[in-house]
């Protein structure tokens, strides 16, 4: 088996193995470390001597052994420290039989809910999810976020300590918290996608690996939670956005705005899958923000040209989105839709409502959007100064370049 296929297999098995081991031992933190070690061992051994007959059983056995060793040494340490050995359970007999495992289908899902626990900051939840659910190594995650490996290892370890300190048990969330917990999961998956798609800093505009990983994890979540409308909604949003990736930059690495993209480069397979997902789920339950954003992306993707875009429908969707999930970014996008339907001056009036919003003070997007609408209104001088202001505010080099170029075009 090639290295690539071993890696894919390992990453698919990661949350299942972790789920089984964590449930058995009841210690998510230690189980996660043990599974990570087992995965590293497997990556080496399987490549040279082949994949064992039951790869999942192999991983569970090796992880359980490591965990048992670890717990024994912890026990011994504690025994020395408190001389109270009698109350400590004996772990020696606890390695689960591999066939005992398949019985608990929710284990992978529990791992996902744990990794996106609301006590975590977004950055920690993202890192832990990529390792525990995505099966990436600490080194791979560190590389994707351009931080040193030791920093990433510490971030993950602290995240697990924080979950432990919160008293969370390795069980599925109960009915009363389930909706909130699912919202955290979807938010984390969405952030991973966004990080890959827009790369919050740095030279590369798109980090494809994170985008692909976010889609893979959301597919996994969808397979486990087919009834939750927002899960396919998020998956559709990712697919319908990612479909435009090839058209989003030109040969010089320069950003190309939606209105100027070569639509022939859009990935029709992804668009078809995204639209099918939406069609299946829209109207089947209460509508959520991811479904609406996916619907907006679908309207763009279905338009054969910019001029044929159904802006009235996009505006109606943004109005709905603003009602159920208000925020300055939604207002900003609605302003653009208003401009396309009712003219740039009407859009600028909507943008004006954001001037006093503290959340927009450090964002270059308000100035960039105002520049765009002023340009549509024929105010080249005003547009130019807005683009220049926005270019100075963003720390993303591709965006700096794009905005400077837009400004220069108007002089």
């Amino acid at each position: 088996m090639t290295g690539h296929r071993v890696e894919d297999l390992l990453r698919e098995l990661a949350p299942q193995v972790l789920g089984a081991v964590a449930r058995h031992f009841g210690d998510f933190d230690a189980a996660e470390d043990a599974v990570q070690e087992a995965m590293l061992a497997a990556a080496e051994q399987w490549r040279s001597s082949g994949v064992p007959e039951s790869p999942r059983g192999w991983l569970i056995r090796v992880a359980s052994r490591r965990l048992t060793d670890y717990l024994r040494s912890e026990q011994a340490r504690r025994r020395r420290e408190v001389l109270a050995a009698a109350s400590v359970p004996e772990y020696a007999q606890l390695v689960p039989a591999p066939d005992e495992v398949g019985l608990h289908r929710d284990d992978s899902l529990t791992v996902l809910f744990m990794s996106c626990h609301p006590v975590l900051t977004s950055a920690s939840a993202i890192a832990l999810t990529l390792r525990a659910v995505g099966g990436l190594t600490t080194a791979e995650i560190a590389r994707a976020f351009l931080v040193p490996e030791a920093t990433m290892a510490q971030r993950i370890s602290r995240a697990k300590q924080r979950i432990k300190a919160s008293g969370a048990q390795f069980t599925m969330p109960d009915e009363t918290t389930r909706a909130d917990r699912l919202a955290s999961v979807l938010h984390v998956l969405y952030l991973i996608f966004n990080e890959g798609y827009t790369a919050s800093s740095g030279d590369a505009l798109q980090r494809t690996d994170l985008t692909a990983e976010a889609i893979r994890l959301t597919r996994m979540a969808h397979a486990m939670l087919p009834q939750e409308g927002e899960v396919p909604g998020l998956l559709a949003l990712m697919l319908l956005t990612d479909a435009r990736r090839a058209a989003r930059t030109d040969a010089d690495g320069l950003l190309v705005p939606l209105t100027e993209q070569r639509r022939a480069l859009w990935d029709q397979t992804k668009i078809a899958e995204g639209i099918a997902l939406l069609t299946e789920t829209l109207g089947a339950g209460p509508v959520g923000p991811y479904q609406i954003q996916a619907a907006i992306a679908a309207v763009h993707d279905e338009a054969p040209s910019v001029d044929e875009t159904d802006w009235a429908q996009i505006l109606a969707l943004y109005e709905t989105l603003e009602q159920i999930s208000p925020g300055p970014t939604v207002t900003l996008n609605r302003a653009v839709a208003v401009a396309m339907v009712h003219g740039p001056r009407a859009g600028l009036a909507v943008l004006g409502t954001l001037d006093d919003d503290d959340r927009m003070v450090n964002s270059h997007r308000l100035a960039a959007t105002r520049g765009h609408l002023l340009e549509l209104a024929g105010d080249n001088e005003g547009a130019r100064s807005c683009y220049q202001q926005a270019a100075r505010m963003t720390a993303s080099r591709p965006e700096q370049h794009y905005l400077s170029l837009r400004a220069a075009r108007l002089s």
Partner: protein
């Protein structure tokens, strides 16, 4: 050996960029894109980042009692500032200097080299074990 190549922008140059033509900007972007791609290809690029403009800067300085004082930019007295940097892992200082020279020759207004100074400094050297 790792070196940090710091592109030192001037207030004047930064302001003048507002008057570059679209073609000048496009040429600069094309140059930077190819320049970075070549460094990736040669296996020498560790990291490259642009920074937000000096208007976004804040200066933080502790007082004698340890509490910080934060001053918001821009700072009119500052004539030069870090505009962006590369970290490269190369075989020799000569090579780092060669790369810095190419960066400094990136096209500016009218396509002539922008001649932005690039400061080259060794970084992250491990302490020598034997001494």
């Amino acid at each position: 050996m790792k070196y940090m190549l710091m592109m030192v922008g001037s207030k004047q140059g930064w302001d003048e960029m507002a008057d570059w033509s679209a073609e000048d900007i496009r040429a600069m972007i094309r140059f930077m894109h190819q320049f970075n791609a070549k460094l990736v290809e040669s296996g020498e690029l560790v990291d490259a980042q642009g920074l937000a403009g000096p208007e976004q800067a804040k200066i933080v300085q502790a007082q004698l009692d340890g509490s910080p004082v934060v001053t918001d930019g821009p700072f009119p007295e500052t004539k030069e500032f870090l505009a962006g940097y590369w970290i490269v892992d190369v075989d020799s200082e000569e090579r780092a200097i060669e790369i810095a020279g190419q960066a400094s020759a990136s096209p500016g207004r009218g396509g002539a080299p922008a001649q932005v100074p690039v400061e080259v400094r060794p970084i992250g050297e491990a302490p020598s074990v034997d001494t």
